[in-house]
Symmetry: none
Subunit: 281 residues, 2 copies
């Protein structure tokens, strides 16, 4: 019975302090595994006695046994032996889909800075910040990202227009676009039918265009004014996820938040501070 299962089993009866402890255990199991009950308690801001009691509540005979279980699960089980399996080749060999997927994602993410550099993102941020309205276009799976970006921009107080529908609908929604606006287009796989007309229209009225895209990015015609493109995970003909473009989009949003902060408030030191401020609930 795993730690997570044990937590689930008693989830209903967890108190506030116990909840905090559980969170910490799940977030940093390796630290907890190597520390003492007091160190866990101290970092969590509760008394060590509560940690001891939690262990019993989860069905362990003592805190020591609890910690042993964490070690088993997060240090011994996840030891160097399993690490080998995490390599792409090994995972593919074993038909281990989860690990193969992860290996591919990590590989693609790691390569991302080779394709997109911070100054390009800065340019995009400046354009978006200066924009009166932001139009967002996506087709197929990419709508996943357009809804995400739309939500985030809205929360930052940006006026957002999500383009939807086909031909006539699109045309109508585009009527209002002006020189102060920016259009963001998510494009993967093939260039969608409406891409060219949309970009042409935007350029015609003097609006900015930003494409967030995969390997096709550079081949898009007409070329958008700004382009953030990086290959997605996997090889050309295999499964391609939205992880990489999502990272680009997140970086964009974060830098935008940071720049706006810079303008008004004092600069926050860490990403953590920046965001907990920005995304407070």
């Amino acid at each position: 019975m795993s730690i997570l299962e044990r937590v689930q089993a008693v989830a209903e009866s967890l108190t506030r302090a116990e909840h905090l402890l559980v969170r910490e255990v799940i977030a940093k199991p390796r630290d907890v595994a190597l520390g003492t009950a007091s160190s866990l308690a101290q970092r969590t801001g509760v008394h060590e006695a509560t940690a001891s009691r939690l262990a019993k509540k989860l069905g362990f005979e003592s805190y020591a046994n609890f910690r042993d279980a964490i070690r088993q699960e997060f240090i011994v089980k996840a030891g160097p032996a399993t690490r080998v399996r995490n390599t792409l080749e090994a995972a593919a060999q074993n038909g281990d889909i989860l690990n193969e997927l992860i290996a591919r994602e990590v590989e693609a993410l790691t390569a991302l800075p080779d394709y997109v550099d911070s100054s390009r993102i800065s340019d995009a941020v400046k354009a978006l910040t200066a924009a009166r309205r932001v139009f967002i276009f996506a087709r197929g799976n990419a709508v996943t990202l357009s809804t995400m970006l739309a939500r985030r921009l809205l929360r930052m107080g940006v006026e957002v227009e999500v383009l939807s529908g086909d031909g006539r609908d699109l045309a109508e929604q585009m009527l209002g676009i002006g020189a102060d606006d920016v259009m963001v287009l998510f494009v993967f796989r093939r260039q969608p039918r409406h891409f060219a007309p949309l970009v042409e229209r935007a350029h015609h009225v003097g609006a900015g265009t930003l494409a967030i895209s995969g390997s096709i990015g550079p081949a898009l015609t007409p070329a958008p004014k700004l382009l953030l493109s990086a290959p997605r995970s996997g090889s050309n003909d295999s499964f391609q996820t939205l992880t990489v473009p999502m990272a680009i989009t997140n970086a964009l949003v974060l830098m935008m938040a940071q720049m706006n902060q810079d303008a008004t408030l004092e600069r926050l030191e860490t990403l953590g501070e920046l965001i907990s401020n920005f995304e407070s609930r």
Copy 2:
């Protein structure tokens, strides 16, 4: 100064028993790191006092310090976190948001297999495959993932119902749920208000429930029948992206496609083949 260097420094003056101890430490550093002085002594066939003295001979103040050093060297430093840690700290220092974000994502993805194992995903796949209909629930940012999953399932010919709206609307949409159905719930941050009633209703009629979630996963009440949860990137209180849960969702979809393939066609060898077949356009 590493353990090995310390050993080398006093190599000449090592006694027979000390030599045995050192051998064991070098052969199984991780076991030693997690054990006590007595356990090391016992396995080596010497007295625990000798282990204590060896620690001092190697220049440590106590056996505890010696063990801490072993832990640092063979567990902490070898851990998945540390590999990324350097990049992360450098990036954070320079305010390089893109690289910091990427480092965090990689760290979180790498830890994913510690929390979700393939057999759990298999269970979820079996439930989804057997389901007559799949209901999907998400709130806030999580809708990004629900739309993604809905699209993918639809493409696979699964009947999907995306739950939307509030109170009354939800209740109406839930009227039709039956024992053959499965409800998938995406839950991050706090447990949403409608979570409990939905799960209770589903369980009441005998439907399955699957939660895809972050660190709260195990603390959800009532507990879903199936749970796929892993901490998201970043620390508890900072920016958290959907990268990890998206990877879980992708793995789920892929394994589902594979199992369906298995049933009808011959098994495809690689993920690439599998998918280019499955997602051909």
